[in-house]
Symmetry: C2
Subunit: 137 residues, 2 copies
């Protein structure tokens, strides 16, 4: 069986990164590893490592983006849960065999070689789940 190894990150949508960092970094004491702009998704992201996982804070940079609409509709809060898997294709095949609906039918790939795919929340009982496979070294 393909193995799900860890929570890679929890993504949290916030209105303003600077405000949210006052809680997550300054009050709670998590380190801020870095921030980055993701123009393709219209989002700015702050990465805060926590054990073997990360807290990712997402600030929409355009109201019409997916994250911008989520913020307008639901307010700030947890957006998705990302799980690292050893073999994303094997995991996706197994999910399909259990009639789980995937948002991405094939893995998408980031420039760093990371591959990912989202599971539809209706198949995951209300949770938007991202599968993530690290680059093969």
């Amino acid at each position: 069986m393909s193995t799900t190894s860890r929570i890679a990150h929890i993504a949290i949508v916030v209105e303003k990164l600077d405000d949210a960092l006052r809680f997550w970094r300054d009050a709670l004491g998590l380190p801020l590893a870095h921030t980055e702009q993701n123009p393709a998704e219209n989002v700015e992201i702050a990465f805060l490592p926590l054990g073997e996982s990360e807290i990712e804070l997402l600030q929409p940079t355009a109201p019409e983006s997916g994250i911008g609409k989520f913020l307008a509709r639901r307010g700030a809060g947890m957006h998705h849960l990302c799980l690292e898997v050893e073999d994303i294709e094997a995991t996706m095949e197994r999910l399909r065999a259990h009639d789980v609906e995937l948002i991405n039918e094939t893995p998408r790939e980031r420039p760093d070689g990371t591959r990912y795919a989202f599971i539809h929340p209706k198949s995951a009982f209300g949770v938007l789940v991202e599968l993530y496979e690290a680059p093969r070294g």
Copy 2:
């Protein structure tokens, strides 16, 4: 500074544990460690270890309970994020010094010696955060 060491668990509210387990256990392949009834909170919980964390599925056993009302109002989905801290009192003191509002003014204790307290979601930008300190050995 008091250290926040890991994501202890993500709690997910579901309508029926058996249905949700078909996704989390059967399709995704996470092991089910055990289930337990929590009559004080009117909830039945399934624990699925994942790396250094756990996925906790919460099924309300009474519609008027806190979890029952959450399900009725928001639908199934992520409910709270639990972080392990080394020293819960030091963490709470630090949070208060940063004007963070706590739901529990002092740590609550479970029979196993676990201590916990919740941070108000308005101070954590929409996320209900639980702090957890393991029993001191």
